[in-house]
């Protein structure tokens, strides 16, 4: 393969990387703060895409309003789920929240499938990019869809903002403090419970956002999150469970790796991330950017 083709694939990989980064970022925030392994993240991503599609069908809302509204709706659903179901499992064995979120995933997928089949008579629906971003642009080394460029830029901005908020602001300081030592944080008069709910809402809102962004690229269908979530978990593990920077960097890196792999030797594309995960875990059991458990 020549260098130009390689360069094209590296560039193309950033698109998938953007989705991995947005999803693993949400997972990392939720895990870092709540110690919840949210298996439902893929289904919430799908709900984001589905919400954008359904809002368009029901109210004629275009892509731009949906880009704001759908993640908010998904985030609100997250808040409800956290308050009514997940909050009851804190302090119990983590396998309980794994089972709960996995069960909710199956339920959500089938529910969406039923709704789509009964309301729209299809189980996989088209969703087109907004007119301003339709078409392709010649970048000199490759002809690339405008919309995909937008996805790369927007997700980089969102990732950077999230990182800044958590590392550099007072809000971030409270979140980090609540994670490190909830009882001391509570002693300062901070309602840790409310912050936990808020963080969960924002985390799943990020998944919803990724879903809306994905709708014009992939078809909107009930199982669209199922495969993605497996890779995303691998990304979180490679980056270091709970590490914000780790999930962003690893997300983009894995996207690039998979695209190059797909071009060089297609059968290995989907396995590459797991080979990487095994290799990283052998050398650094806490992930690339994670601190060893004892150092927390």
């Amino acid at each position: 393969m020549n260098t130009q083709l390689l360069l094209i694939q590296v560039f193309n990989g950033l698109v998938n990387g953007a989705f991995y980064a947005l999803l693993s970022l949400g997972l990392a925030v939720i895990f870092g703060m709540l110690r919840i392994v949210n298996f439902m993240h893929g289904a919430l991503y799908m709900l984001g895409a589905f919400a954008a599609f359904a809002l368009g069908q029901a109210f004629g809302l275009g892509f731009w309003p949906s880009l704001i509204l759908a993640p908010v709706l998904v985030g609100l659903l997250g808040v409800v789920l956290e308050r009514t179901l997940l909050s009851r499992l804190y302090g119990l064995d983590p396998s309980y929240n794994l089972l709960l979120t996995f069960g909710l995933t199956l339920l959500t997928q089938d529910l969406v499938k039923q709704v789509m089949l009964s309301q729209y008579a299809v189980s996989s629906a088209p969703y087109t990019p907004p007119a301003a971003l339709a078409g392709v642009v010649n970048l000199g080394f490759v002809v690339f869809p405008k919309y995909r460029l937008f996805v790369i830029v927007l997700s980089l901005v969102i990732c950077l903002l999230t990182w800044l908020v958590i590392e550099k602001t007072r809000v971030g300081a409270i979140i980090r403090a609540s994670t490190e030592n909830p009882s001391v944080t509570r002693a300062f008069g901070i309602d840790v419970g409310k912050w936990v709910t808020g963080v969960f809402g924002v985390g799943v809102g990020l998944a919803g956002l990724a879903g809306v962004l994905a709708a014009p690229i992939y078809s909107v269908e009930p199982y669209m999150g199922a495969e993605l979530i497996i890779t995303t978990f691998a990304v979180v593990v490679i980056g270091g469970m709970g590490s914000i920077l780790g999930s962003i960097v690893t997300g983009f890196a894995v996207g690039v790796l998979a695209a190059v792999g797909a071009a060089l030797y297609p059968p290995i594309a989907n396995t590459l991330v797991f080979i990487l995960m095994a290799a990283v875990l052998l050398v650094r059991p806490s992930g690339l950017f994670g601190l060893p458990e004892g150092a927390r």
Partner: protein, 409 residues
């Protein structure tokens, strides 16, 4: 007196008729007195919309129609639908369970080639006729053929022979192909490549195997941009095909002069993406609902029962189930060997299978097939009006000739 005679005559003839019915019924040798049709299909995954519940409904309609036409079978045909999740191991277990525990007498539908091959092996061991409608691999009637497996509706040779030849002859003589990496895709890639080369076309690069299922095809579309073939060939099916075509349009390949060659196309794929995304693409199908009045009549009946227009896979399941049940009636038995004998060499023509013939040597069911072109939406006269017929390929020419078959039964 006269009155008495009349009564006697009526009584006599009634008794006679009743006796005949009993005699007929006694002649029927049905295991546990019921013929059980087993629809082994995908009820939840990527192919559930094009076959799935619709296939189960089609088989039920066939059973009901058959019982209405054959009073001696009234109440004796049952249909069971089971999910094989498109996995070979699940298909194998479910097929065995259906035959052993649910006393199923035949299997039908079987989307996903790997699942179809697995179930066909179980059917051979247990001597249960299996009519594959929705699985495409030619292995079913070649190296993996067996006495109990029949291949209905279509196969990869027929698709390649129809579409590969038609596209290449119309000037699409340089191809780059991607295919899903499992039995169906590998086989269709081989058949398509052969058909292209036979018509003096060429591949600009070796075909690429993609993971199955898969959502992102951008790497291959970018590769196609660089290779500049006249045709980008996709052997993907169902939800995967929808993603390929969506991204083919997104990357603007059509505007760059790269046409689209589709291996396997179902009506539901066109519905999922809108027919304009597919407009101009050629495909080969064994049937479509508005191809003529006979097809329309059946499709209307199906739509009334199921709420949606049938795909050709679902229509094929009806036809296959009916063919099986009629073979049971001819054999007067649901014994596997007897039904196989009644099916072999049978010639028939119904709303789906025209000029059909069950080839005894390899159990390929030959029928007329059609090369179609997807209409742009502006030309559609009603909803679901997707195809324009380009050519009819007669049954005798549509499928792999016996001389090429590797089947040894």
């Amino acid at each position: 007196m006269n009155m008495q005679k009349k009564t006697l005559a009526v009584l006599g003839s009634t008794a006679c008729c009743a006796a005949m019915t009993v005699a007929l019924a006694q002649n029927l040798k049905l295991s546990d007195n019921v013929v059980r049709v087993g629809v082994l299909t995908d009820l939840s995954g990527v192919y559930s919309e094009l076959s799935g519940q619709g296939s189960v409904k089609a088989a039920q309609l066939a059973a009901a129609d058959f019982m209405a036409q054959n009073p001696s079978f009234r109440g004796k045909v049952q249909v069971i639908g089971v999910d094989h999740q498109n996995k070979a191991d699940v298909a194998s277990n479910k097929a065995a369970e259906m035959i052993d525990r649910q006393n199923v007498d035949m299997l039908v539908d079987l989307p996903t080639s790997s699942a179809a091959l697995a179930a066909s092996e179980i059917a051979r061991q247990k001597k249960v006729p299996t009519l594959v409608v929705t699985g495409g691999t030619t292995a079913l009637t070649n190296e993996k053929c067996n006495r109990y497996t029949f291949h209905y509706a279509y196969d990869n040779y027929m698709l390649a022979n129809g579409t590969g030849s038609a596209v290449t002859k119309r000037g699409g003589n340089s191809w780059y192909i991607i295919y899903p990496n499992y039995a169906f895709g590998q086989d269709l890639n081989r058949q398509m490549t052969a058909a292209i080369q036979e018509n003096k076309g060429r591949l600009v690069a070796p075909s690429d195997a993609t993971p199955f299922p898969n959502t992102d095809f951008s790497s291959y579309l970018l590769k196609a941009q660089g290779l500049k073939p006249k045709v980008f060939g996709t052997m993907q099916a169902g939800a995967d095909l929808v993603n390929v075509v969506k991204q083919y349009n997104e990357f603007g390949l059509r505007q760059q002069g790269i046409g689209l060659g589709i291996g396997l196309l179902f009506e539901t794929d066109v519905a999922a993406l809108g027919q304009d995304a597919f407009a101009g693409a050629l495909a080969t199908v064994p049937w479509y609902w508005n191809m003529d009045q006979r097809a329309r009549t059946w499709a209307a009946k199906f739509e009334k029962a199921f709420g949606k227009k049938p795909t050709w896979a679902q229509a094929g399941v009806y036809s296959a189930t009916m063919s099986y049940l009629q073979a049971v009636a001819r054999a007067k038995s649901d014994d596997g060997d007897a039904v196989v004998k009644a099916l072999e060499g049978h010639r028939f023509s119904d709303f789906f299978a025209r000029n059909a013939y069950v080839r005894p040597q390899d159990h390929r069911v030959l029928l007329d097939v059609y090369t179609v072109q997807v209409k742009p939406k502006a030309q559609a006269k009603e909803s679901g009006d997707y195809f324009t017929k380009i050519a009819t390929i007669p049954a005798a020419r549509a499928f792999m000739p016996l001389s090429e078959s590797k089947c040894r039964m």
